[in-house]
Amino acid sequence: MPCIDGDALTPTGRQLLEALAEPRTDEEVKDIIGQRLFRVRISLRELMYAGLATVERGRYSLTDAGRAKLEEGRG
């Protein structure tokens, strides 16, 4: 379930970034976007590798780059 295709966000990636508007656990993200938990974990990892999300004490949140990416698509 790729979230990033080149420089662009996939629809799934956008959905994930929007779910991280506030810090959430992987289980909470799963409930919001309705994907299997293992898929959510893969995608969150992808977002972290891309510098768009970070995790602290099990809660994922957007980085500045993640917020900027989200705004990019809205512009």
């Binding site: 379930m1 790729p2 299997r36 938990l37 293992f38 898929r39 974990r41 893969i42 995608s43 992808e46």
Partner: protein, 227 residues
Amino acid sequence: MPGDGEMTEQQGNAAQVSIGMPRLGTPAPQFEAATTHGTIRLEDFKGSWLVLFSHPADFTPVCTTEFIAFAAIQDQLREMNCELMGLSIDSTYSHIAWVRNIQEKMGVAIDFPVIADLNKEVALLYGMIMPGESKTETSRCVFVIDPDQVLRAMIYYPLTTGRNMDEILRLIQALQTTDEHSVATPANWRPGDKVILPPPATQDAAEERVNMPGLECKDWYFCKKDL
């Protein structure tokens, strides 16, 4: 003829490919692998059961029947909080092409990830290669891993023989029943059948057991009950 301490070619080949053999009741060997759903770690499945299974090769007939059969039980497995993941020593491109072929020719969508284990890392970790059958393909192996990532059951089938989905489902149902009720399940057990109480380990417990109401006991060590 090999002398003392020398291996035959067959023994040497067996030693080269059989690096790991996981044990039931121990943590399933962790790995990170390329799959048709991106890079997956075994720990991504923590919190749910997992059926990790291997097949010899993409674009082969028995394997295709098995993929179709696994797809057919996927919804039922998900209702049991159980995920599916396949593996073969093929590339992601081969997997993608084969899955698309199954969709086009057989009308079946394959929705579970399939590991592309080209460097045989996971196959060797899990003892999936049987050199007596093939040094380059995995045999038909099934590993049932619980939500705590403990390996709970293994099934090994030869290249020639497709696996039985009813048994895989039954196996997971039995393990989940055991975990929930602290019981064992007898031969040919099906959900709804009586379960077996673990045998008492002391004389006092044995005496209590035979006098316990609600049990069907043939003897102190052999008691069944309804759940």
